[in-house]
Each structure stands twice: as structure tokens, then as C-alpha cells.
Amino acid sequence: MSATATPMRRARPLTMALLLGLAASLLVAGITALPGGSTLAQQIVSGLMLGGIYVTVAVAFTLTIGVLNFLNFTIPTLFMLTGMVAWGLARWGLPFGMSGGLHWAPALLGGVAVAILASLIVERFTFRYLKTRHGDATEHAIPLVSSLGFLLIFEHLVLIVLGSEAQSFPVRFRLDWQIGPLVLGLPQLASLLLSLGIVFWLSWLLAKTRTGRALRSIAESPDTATLLGVEVTRIVPIVFLLSGLLCGVAGALFVVNYSDVSPFMGDHVGTKAIAAMVLGGLGSIWGAIAGGLLVGLLETLGIHFFGGDAAQVVVWTTLLAAIILRPQGLFGASRIGKGKL
């Protein structure tokens, strides 16, 4: 994990982030001041808000890859589970008729809880059984394949229980803050700040706590970590718990801001979050932040200038080019192992 590796990150992250935020705001203000600039500025702002959602899910992906070397395809499904379960709870209440339709706040909490539970189930039935004997290409794919299996299970169970229609979550905050010609959705701004806050908290966790150090040592070398007394089997579930929490928070914020839930909401966000993770560098939390915001911007500006479908092509082509030309992304280190002869 490269949470504290280079000189850039030795500067206090919070200060750096505040400075960057300030610079970004000034830039946006400057663009707004230009003639005709306010539309562009509005798009930039929307792009960053969308990016906030991608950041949180991208961090879940990058944390799992950084510590466990595992591309967890179940992550977007956890995001979807939060939204759909929250909607289901709000609509019908707890299962087996234990209550009526829930208020939106406990419904959301229920959704997050289910996401975390699902994540821990995935850990129980994928990682515990992993026994790489030969270390060849298809063996490394085993957890990835399991996660694909869980993706199918969760997505289709939701389709069966909750139907395939897109739905509307019963609460949507509409509080807009007008600054000059720009309109800032306050809930969106709040969720961007909340996402970033959670990610900074995670970064602090990794850098300063015992658990965090244990996670980083596992990322460096699982064998050395075990030798140093890290209880790998107790720490690994924490990664899954954090992934579940991050996806749950992202899902809850998405639902509150955009109100649309569907069994397919995970697919769209998941693929963008993967793109964000790669652009930022696998295993790098800061990379996931930068990548998430960048993907949000690219997508929003792309839609604005080229239309919806073309924008998707732009994002995916950028990703493909990035993987080929600079696989380590913005902040990652190239990790191509050489076997010992």
C-alpha cells in the first residue's frame, strides 16, 4: 500500500487536500468569470460531485487489490445491494412482516449493514480457501472468479426478490446553494465531502493505527507479515469489512442524491470505479481519489460535448490506453514480479 511512501505524502494529507480544494475552487470561479464559462463550470462541478461517488467505490477496489492482490468483482454488487435493500426496507419494512415500511434513515443503515454482511460472506467463502500451489496465471484468478460467482448470486437474488424495475427511493433532498451563476446541490456537496472524509479517515487508519500497519505489512509481503506475528486470518476480514462499509456509504449517498435505484446500478458505477482505480494506480488510495474525480469529470464533460454513448467510449478508451501505456497509473508502482531462480 502506498499510503505513506513518497515525500508528497509526508506533507500532511489534510493540508494538501485543502490546498487542492482551494485551487480547484479558484479555477472554477475563474472559468465562471469568463464569458460563457458558467455552463462549463457547472459541468465541472457536476463532474466532481459524480466523481465523489466513484472515489469511494474506487478506494474499496484499490484497498482490496493493494492488500490482498485481489480484484474483487463483488464490490459493485455491494453498492447495488445497499441501494436496493434500502429501497426494499423503506417500501415494505423488515422481512417476515416484522414492521411496516421503514423511515429512510434506518432503511439506509439497513442497506449498509447488508452490504457489509455480504462482503464478509464473500471473504468467508473465497479467501479462506485459497491455496496457491503453483502460482501460475489461472491460479491467481481464483478469488477473482469466486467474486464473479458471488456477483451473479447477489445480483440475481435481488432480481428475484425485488424485481428488475428501476425504482425511486422515497427521499430526495433538494437544497440548492446558488453562488453567482452556479448551482451547487448541497446534498451532492455534502456527499463529496463525506466520501473524501471517509477516505482520509481510512488513510489515517492505515498510517497511524496498529491495524493499519498490519494491513500495510500484508500488502508488502504476506509471508513476512505472518513471521512478524501479524494474525493474517484475523486482519483479512477487516479489508472486506472496510470494502463493505465504503460501498455501503457510497450506495447510501448515491441513493440520497440521485434517488434512482435499480438492480443494475452497480454495473455502471463499478466499471467507472475500476477505471478510476487503474488511472490512479492499483493499490494507491490517493490515486483512487484522483482517479475517481478525473473519471467523473471525463464522463460529465464527455456527455456534455459528445453525448452519452460517445462519452462512454471516451472513458473506456482512456482506460485502455492507460493500462497499456502507463499501467501503474498516476501514483502506483509497477509490480511485475520476477521469480527467484
Binding site: T138, V145, L148, G149, I153, L157, I160, A275, D309, I323
Partner: protein, 282 residues
Amino acid sequence: MSGYWAGILAILAINIIFAYGIFVTAAAGQLNLGGAGFMAIGAYAAAVLGEQLGWSPALTIPAAVTITGLIGIAIAFPVLRTRGVYMVLATFAFAQVVTGVILTQPVLGGAMGMVVPDYVDLPVLIGAAIATVVLVFFLMATRLGLAMRALHDDELVSTLMGVPARAVQVASFALGAGLAGLAGGLYAHHFSFVEAQYFSALLSIYVLLFVLIGGTQTAWGPLVGATFFTLVPELLRIGGSWRYVVFGVIIVAMMMFRPEGIVTRTLLARLFGRRRRVADAG
């Protein structure tokens, strides 16, 4: 033969060809999570050539295979510089680019899809599937197939044995792409309609799963995988979403207990092998 079973066999034949396309690259150690992208190229190539140039399937399908194979070669060079999870992501991204581009082209029907002239009947599909099976079994029995399997196990040492790693990997990737393109071309002419939404990320995932569950050690794997996952849900009369839930559970269970897949070399040895001693050799 009833229409229902004819439909199942058609899908089975196409799935088998598609699965062998992914198998050929997986057996050489590369995971292609963008199979649907190549199938889409094959399908749309056949559709466009038939529609715009009036070619018959006897021409469009070989052309589709060639075009997909050439694109496979072109993509292989940059993609094969990546490894492991990066290759998975690169192939995934490629497939997304392909469907994305198709959706934006009105000449390809955009999101409405495209009608494909000239119907290709079930016997053609079955013939193509049989030919594919024979081709891949032959390939795996050659020195080229041996080199591919060696690369899967240990790329560095294979190079130190004189195997031209890059050339073999590009060849297997391109062949895989060509087979996926064949599956696409046949699909287009048999179902007479193509739309980009069909060639989704989920399709790429399914076919990779057939192959990994079937087993990548021998050429029997994809045959078993594709057949099992196409026929069993029909036989058990599981429909709709439950089919995929069961599929998912099987995958998770397999990865826990038998990650090398259903068909392994040791299984074949136990079923068919006779023990020989070196001293028996002429």
C-alpha cells in the same frame, strides 16, 4: 427435432465455439475477459458485409473470422505487455470500447441493432462446432500446443527452453479472437439480428467462467464447461434468474474445492489411461 431443442443445440454449438476461443488463450496463461468484444466484431462484420455488399454467409463468415483475427493480432501486441490483473482489465476495457463504438454508429444500427440477411441453419452450426473441437484438439497435440501449455505454467523457464514466448502468445490470442469472431458470425446469421447490448460484459464473464469451470488443462475442458452450463439448466427446468444463482453457487463451490476445473489431466488418466513404463518404449 422439436424447435425448442433445435434452439438449445444452436446456442450450444455457438457457446462451444466461443468457449474454445477463450480456452485457447487461457491455456497459454492469458485471461481474456473481453471475449464478447471479439464476438461482437465477428457478428457485426458478418452483418455489415451481408447487408452492404450482399455477400452470402459462405463469404461473410470467413471474412468475419479473418477480420476478428487481424484485430486480435493488432490488440495482442499492446495488451500482452500487461500481465495478470492488468491483462484482465485491458481485455475488459477493450470489449467495452467495442460495444461503445458500435452504439455510436448509426450505420451499425446504434442501439436499435441490425437485421442480418441470409439465414444459416443448425447443421452448419453443428458442423462448425465439430470442426472447432477437432482443430483445437489437434492444436493442443502439436509442439505449438505444448509450448502454450508450458507458457501457462512458467513463462520464464519456457523462454529458457527456447520457446518464442511473445510469438506464441500473440498467435494464441489471435486464434482465440478468430474463434470468438466465428461464433459471432454464426450467431448473426442464425438469429438474423444483432444488437450491441447482447455482447455485454456479463457475456464475457459467462464464457470465461464456462472455460475455467470446465478446466483449462486439456482440450476437453471447454466442451464440458459449455455443455454443462448450457444443457443442465434446461434439463433441470430451472428458469430465469434462479439459473444464474445456481450457476454462481456452483462457481463459488468449484473455486473452493476444485479450482483447477472439472476436467484435469489426472482425471483423464484415471478414466482413460493405461500405465506404461519407460522401458516399454520401442
